[in-house]
Symmetry: C2
Subunit: 420 residues, 2 copies
């Protein structure tokens, strides 16, 4: 299991650690000024970024990648402008560092306060999508953290070009060297080594598919935050307003099917299945959605395939919806707690008791009553841009904004107190 020695990874993690000590002390004004400079630099440096991106795209085409991943990889002037706007939006967010979370005077006169501080050094292991490079760098800077980025080989030229532009703009203006580090070595060993550097990294966030997340959980000695996998459900209760339910299901499935908060399985109360499923089914079919249904639902959904056990457990990230008829809220909750990934789950109901029961008993970062699962998002929740959506319970759950990228420190002021 011991990672190969790689001076690059070690040196960059050490530099990030040193930078973190300085970043933790920077004022909001200093950090925001750097973010705005970096945003401008992205736009004025677009030429070099697009050149590097063209190399990645050419490589991807030569490797025979399909359209979708190449699309995700591809940058253009508009996408670069969006990244710059993202940094400007981060600059506009309040600074989480220094917030006094709570405090009190103890009976012995000690004054204790719990003060928000940065996590320190954040490692991010991610796959394709070069915008993650800029978002993560910006969110970490705003929250006073150093970041060590380790992107995939598909986007390495784009990522290196982006980080180069950010550092060239930031460092002469006061960004500590090491605040934004990117690992150039894209082999498995470099990632493995990063996962062992708990001496220098305070947290590691894998952003990508289930295989990546499982590997990081297995190998990392650095504390991990799991993000992103979303096998989300919508349960339509017997008392649901069916028009409302229809709009919510269509929105949650179709508005952007490739994202983690899209719905993957529909559960329908058997009392309303005969009324609800045929009309929903024809609308979804028109919208190009493939249906995979249980036996009972198939009778109400012409053209639906038969759902397998695997379908219940799959995050399709595509225009596919699994459909199951259930006996009621209890069975719906049991299904969700068995197959769900604890991301976002919704009930459509007019029944107060069922709503309350669903909210309490479903295991998920976000539970909805009468709304689309697509709202699970840092921006929508008012947290600003997000680093990801945590599906674990430790530290942060659901959308992670800049505040979720912090820890705290207890400060105790005394006048000579000793413990009796």
């Amino acid at each position: 299991m011991a990672a190969q020695a790689n001076n690059e990874v070690l040196q960059k993690a050490q530099r990030a650690r040193q930078a973190a000590a300085r970043l933790a002390l920077m004022s909001r004004a200093e950090k925001d000024r750097l973010l705005l400079l970096m945003a401008d630099a992205l736009e004025s440096g677009a030429g070099a970024i697009l050149q590097a991106n063209a190399r990645d795209v050419k490589q991807a085409e030569e490797r025979g990648l399909s359209r979708a991943p190449i699309d995700r990889l591809l940058l253009d002037e508009k996408r670069i402008r969006e990244m710059a706007e993202g940094l400007r939006a981060i600059a506009a967010l309040p600074d989480p560092v220094g917030e006094v979370i709570e405090g009190r005077r103890l009976p012995n006169g000690l004054e204790i306060t719990k003060v928000r501080v940065p996590l320190g050094v954040v490692g991010i292991i991610y796959e394709s999508r070069p915008n993650v490079t800029v978002d993560a760098a910006g969110l970490c800077l705003k929250s006073g953290n150093a970041v060590v980025l380790r992107g995939g080989s598909e986007a390495i030229h784009s990522n290196l070009a982006l980080v180069k532009v950010l550092n060239h703009a930031g460092i002469p203006a006061g960004l500590p060297e090491g605040a934004i580090e990117i690992i150039e070595t894209t082999d498995r060993e470099a990632a493995a080594q990063l996962m062992q550097l708990d001496e220098y990294l305070d947290v590691l966030m894998p952003r990508g598919g289930g295989d990546l997340i499982r590997r990081v959980k297995r190998e990392s000695t650095v504390p991990v935050i799991e993000t992103g996998e979303g096998n989300c459900h919508i349960y339509v209760d017997a008392s649901a307003r069916l028009d409302q339910a229809e709009e919510i299901v269509v929105n949650a499935k179709c508005q952007r099917p490739g994202v983690c908060n899209a719905a993957e399985t529909l559960l329908v109360h058997r009392q309303v299945a005969a009324e609800f499923l045929p009309r929903l089914g024809s609308r979804l079919t028109e919208l190009g959605v493939e249906l995979r249904a249980c036996e009972q639902a198939r009778g109400l959904l012409p053209g639906a395939h038969s759902a397998t056990e695997e379908d219940w457990a799959t995050e399709f990230l595509a225009l596919i919806l699994a459909v199951r008829v259930v006996a009621g809220v209890e069975e719906a909750i049991a299904h969700i707690n068995r197959y769900g990934t604890r991301h976002s789950e919704a009930i459509i109901t007019e029944d107060l008791e069922n709503a309350r029961r669903f909210v309490r008993e479903v295991e998920a970062a976000v539970v909805y009553v009468n709304a689309s699962t697509r709202f699970t998002d840092g921006g929508q929740f008012g947290l600003g841009a997000e680093m990801g959506i945590s599906t674990q319970k430790l530290h942060a759950r659901g959308p992670m904004g800049v505040r979720e990228m912090t820890s705290y420190k207890w400060v105790v002021m005394g006048e000579g107190q000793v413990r009796p």
Copy 2:
């Protein structure tokens, strides 16, 4: 690395998972009633517990364990009464579950609230000290968590007897079966298997020495909270009131040297070393403290040994103090950030700028100005009893009370909202 199949570990983790779903819904009144019943049962069941404990003690003596670990292991009527009192104190704490942490109405009319929920299933791997069994079970029950305990072989009979008493009192009165599980197999494989059960466990807390903590960090796929290692420092600044400094150092070193918040290294500003060290040294020597000092300090501390590099990095947990003369607050901070374990650190000063700098720049869960490090404790901080003192930055830092044994869930109430 794959753990050997052990049905006991798997079955108990699964039972705990099932119990967790029920525990999460229990009211404060139900939980407190169980805690009080369990407290009474410990006192009335003292006979069986002491019998089991005698077996552990006999075994330890046969194995030739020294006095200190046998003392830690030993139970008597008084210690059992203290455990029962501990449960009663936990019952008196507020229930953290259900607290609305924050909430707002979004522009689109969605009402979002962030509600405190239990973590779920908490695994604890610990060494000796049977009181941890009862404390952990009580704190987990109060915070709505199921617990899977895996104590050391030295205390296995005591631990099994304690859990038996707790369950015999609790289960007939409504404690879900599986809420308090203890692994009977004390071999390494059972612990290794527990570390891989991220499907059932939400967090794993190792409580013990550095070797145990490092092993759990390396092997566990369950999220880990590091607790306990405390290489704590006191820095006496040039402006310190030396009488106050003397009392604080004596308290932090001698009041209870075997605990994690005791001081291990004293750093003294060179301007006051000549005045401060001789008087402190003779007092500490009288109190039986062995001094290990840098060259400069040795000249002022008759009888002090020469400190080695290793001494700076050691948590002595004994009447030993490392002493070093430094040039000022900057060198003190650098020393602490290099050798400290990020537990508790103190500055003794009358200089506002140095106090502020120390507070901001020292990396630790708790930083003190003019007080003893010995106050780092859930009870002292007003959090009630504690599960341990976290020395990592993720999730919780410093003393962990019942509130720190929780996560949260976002609840979103709508009236048909879909994402545009």
